[in-house]
Point group: C2
């Protein structure tokens, strides 16, 4: 379906230019209709999202192995840029759990946490991810995200969630544990479990219990208290702020920081300085693969949230423009000293539920974060790291979906294999190798499933011109004619299969003198398919068999005419299977229901 074709021929150059501008800068579209009422709406939304984003940005920066203020930096420029370039009205970009974990995994292969090189690697990841997304957007390469099949994404997110949760158990318990994958983190936790810090654990476990209660018990309570469901939902999402304020007061009030409870400490105030990340090509090449994985995982999550929210109000989301918007957001993050960002699920839903009418809500959220960075960072001094870790654990455990394994098993064994492999390799080896394994395996399984298309030997239904599978219908056949119907395009995944099938069929049936390939389901024939047809034609010729085709579709025929195949073909191309058989054996075609009626295997 080409909706572009509806464009009228009379469109003037100016109109076209304006249309292109509006497609690259959606802000021109919604900005023109912006009113005072929309403004006050968007301001309220921004306030709510800011309160939700502050603890998240601090927590995800720490998860990525970075100083907490980097999370705040990554929550300003990206939101402003998304407001200019984004097509979703409700998407809220910023640091997210899985991308933060992947940032940590990639950066820690290049430098140690806490070093300027580590921070530089994280910033470079945002830059390269941004450039890759931008390139994919301009070159319309969004289809590359298709490499991630649903089972692979689901498995990867479940495994990442488990790894993040395991990693955050250490700060919750006041111990030290580290590792590049779930398995090594668990082993590390096991070894240091004896060193649990009681006060930290009290705060951490307390926060965990509170946050889980907020998720499960607060909403029913609020509804009983008379609030409507939507407002209750929003308050539930802002719940972590309560935990944060409470534990700041406890740690500050009881002087627990001096008793070994780890706190965020001094968060440098002030806006980030803008600067281009160094054009270190050697570094950029080293991080190319992780940056690509982060980009694609981020994009897939983001576009899925955007489409879901857009559908509720029948709004349009442009997938290619979304790549450009996320690319700009990541480049913005890098230039303001931040790390990779993408559209977050929970925060976008809050944005939507709170009534965000335009991307301006995101811009106002950025201003909220800027005010926080300028004036409120001293308030975060006593914020215990255990509380942040607890908010992460509660957030990521909602991503873990072991149930999906069971459903996938019931639905498709090969999808289950891809999903299980992704989960296992991610848990045992780490995020990058886990994701690559999943993608590789799902491509291999896809190739396998398309490499053996359904092929039926067909015969004529007596008294008709219809041809059907000899295994399912009582049909008439001529032992000298083999008619095969291929229910798939002829392209490289199955090209060799067809050659082998013909070799097998001909070797097994010495009486054959003619082979007809019925092609009503062949939507395309690529060069490999053509090569196979040519090889089959030559081999059959050597064996004294003529090769015919029937029911070739128009566009496929057009293309075949551009090759030498039709000149070399020993038989003919027939409009219908009936014509093909009739041209070879006119008597058989006329047979109605006497002789030769058979139910072959």
């Amino acid at each position: 379906m080409d909706t572009k074709s509806t464009e009228t021929q009379s469109t003037s150059l100016v109109e076209r230019a304006s249309k292109v501008m509006r497609s690259y800068f959606p802000i021109l579209e919604w900005g023109a209709r912006y009113t005072g009422k929309t403004f006050s709406n968007d301001m309220i939304v921004a306030l709510i999202v800011t309160m939700m984003l502050i603890p998240q940005s601090l927590a995800y920066a720490i998860l990525a192995g970075l100083p907490p203020e980097i999370g705040l930096y990554a929550s300003m420029a990206p939101l402003l840029l998304y407001a200019i370039f984004g097509t979703s009205r409700a998407l809220a970009v910023g640091p997210v759990a899985v991308a933060s974990l992947m940032t940590a995994a990639a950066a820690s292969q290049l430098a140690s946490q806490g070093t300027p090189e580590y921070l530089g690697a994280a910033v470079a990841l945002a830059m390269v991810s941004g450039l890759l997304l931008l390139a994919m957007g301009f070159l319309k390469l969004g289809f590359l995200a298709n490499f991630l099949s649903h089972p692979v994404i689901a498995g990867f997110i479940t495994a990442s969630g488990l790894q993040i949760a395991a990693g955050q158990l250490a700060p919750v318990l006041g111990i030290h544990a580290e590792g590049e994958n779930f398995l090594s983190i668990i082993i590390s936790l096991w070894h240091s479990i004896g060193a649990i810090h009681i006060a930290t654990t009290a705060i951490g476990i307390g926060s965990l219990i509170f946050l889980f209660w907020v998720r499960s018990g607060l909403k029913p309570l609020l509804i009983r208290l008379g609030l409507n469901a939507k407002i209750s939902d929003i308050l539930v999402k802002v719940g972590p702020v309560i935990a944060i304020v409470a534990t700041i007061l406890i740690v500050g009030g009881f002087g627990l920081a001096d008793k070994g409870v780890k706190i965020v400490g001094k968060v440098p105030g002030g806006l980030p300085k803008l600067s281009m990340p160094p054009m270190d090509m050697a570094l950029w090449l080293k991080i190319l693969v992780p940056a690509l994985l982060i980009s694609i995982i981020g994009y897939v999550e983001s576009i899925s949230v955007a489409l879901t929210l857009a559908a509720k109000k029948r709004q349009h989301v442009d997938p290619d423009q979304e790549l450009i918007a996320l690319g700009a957001a990541n480049i913005g993050s890098a230039i303001s000293g931040g790390f990779p960002v993408t559209g977050g699920f929970a925060r976008s839903v809050v944005n939507f539920d709170a009534g965000a009418e335009t991307p301006a809500a995101g811009a106002f959220t950025a201003i909220g974060i800027a005010i926080t960075t300028l004036f409120l960072t001293p308030l975060l001094f006593f914020l215990p790291k255990a509380t942040l870790a607890a908010t992460i654990i509660v957030a990521v455990l909602s991503l873990v979906n072991i149930q999906a394994l069971k459903q996938t098993w019931a639905y498709s064994k090969s999808d289950f294999a891809a999903m299980a492999a992704t989960i296992l390799v991610t848990l045992i080896e780490g995020v990058e190798i886990g994701l690559i394994t999943g993608v590789g395996l799902s491509i291999v399984l896809h190739l396998y499933s398309t490499s053996r298309p359904h092929v039926a030997v067909v015969g004529q239904i007596p008294g008709t011109s219809h041809f059907r599978n000899v295994e399912r219908h009582t049909v008439v056949t001529d032992p000298a004619i083999l008619s095969l119907r291929v229910d798939e395009s002829l392209y490289f995944p199955n090209a060799r299969f067809l050659e082998e099938l013909v070799n097998e069929s001909v070797a097994a049936n010495p009486a054959i003198r003619h082979l007809i390939l019925e092609c009503p389901a062949v939507n395309t024939i690529d060069s490999s398919g053509l090569e196979s047809l040519e090889a089959i034609n030559l081999r059959l010729k050597d064996g004294g068999i003529t090769f015919h085709l029937s029911e070739i579709k128009g566009p496929v025929m057009d293309r075949l005419k551009r090759s030498h195949f039709l000149e070399e073909l020993t038989g003919k191309v027939h409009l219908s299977q009936y014509e093909a058989v009739a041209s070879i054996n006119p008597d058989l075609a006329k047979i109605t229901h006497e002789a030769n009626v058979q139910k072959e295997m």
Copy 2:
């Protein structure tokens, strides 16, 4: 088509076991029917092929950077083992040009030519290739060869041929040049062109001219002299032996070896000692990727030759058993100190044309090579390396097919892109990266082409129950009902496309209340497709639109019943598109040719 189902239930256990044995050991099949006449036939064939194989095995060993006797070693055990396990009557295995080049590329990354480590790496490549082929055979993984599309193989072989020819120009001219790819070899040649050795060049260029004449001029001459075409063909293939004998006599007779003409020198006589290659797992892991590439390239070439020759006599070739046979041949090569082998095109054709009736001809060829190794190696002392290089150049230039680029361009631009990229990267960077680039690009292009399936908006043809594309037919539609027909399976390459398409269609048509997906061409729905359908269903529900399906195929419906999708579906699954529309708008369905008839864009 499942030919296995023809097996009768009454087959006894003994018969089954015997059948399995015969399928794994085809020698049991043809060996039982072996007669004296077949024997004398096979002996003559073996003599001809031995004469052709001696110079080839020496030359390809040198091409692989190995001592010449290694080529002879690789031409004994593999032939014997293929005779036991192979299903092709005419395939002649042994060292081939492209696999030798790939062996050199892989081994020289691990050690310098001439060192025991280099030889060890070459032997290990044969071992690992053999094990991989064996595993692919037993696990029925032959479909992995489908990763190599025809344009990629054709491009790769052309580029390899150019690289080999360029590399062999140095010994022909008596100069030294080396490089890991065509480009660096050409540069290296350019720098040493001044040091041309006159006597060597005379022999080398002389051999080249003679060999080219043998290819083009000898056959017509022989036919004029009264020989038949087939015998002339065979004599042409044995032509290199004449060049070799002549140049041995010239170099020996005129004492040119003392004047700087490089000769093969002392080739150690005697049969190779059998020994297991060291189980060096670290080394095996390092060579895993090149060994896999060598295996698959070798298999693809070999099976293609086998199928072509089998077709001429309507013989059966079993692709999985061929993997096992080539695996055994390579392991045999490794155990007898040889390097990777596969079925060679030219030599198999000679084998076939000379009348090889059974794989025993290959076994007798192995005996011929063994006799050569035992008694005739002193005769090779004065064999100039320039002559061997000339035989390689003439052989590989026949692989170079630049014309194919033009044909592929005419037929398919995306296949052309894959082919051109394979050629360029191979020439500029080297064989492994070239092949990997080609495979990667063809998978990406395949994914792209399947990621945007044909989708049509359909309407009812007045007076009928048929639904057709609104862009091509005059049909009736209801503005509240959008009917989409998808002409492709719903699976991960296009799952996201469908979501985006529905988002776009719904955002563009505010009047829509019902969406019907007509699925007559949907052969399968994988987990990603199911997830998309679920997301579409939920999103449409949020937008107040019911979602219907029609004409779901039986096996697809069976699978959908194993998921929760049908329970969640807001609409229904209808047997036909007509029923679907009739259930929503009974009046419209009855309309024959009045109102609303339209020819939409």
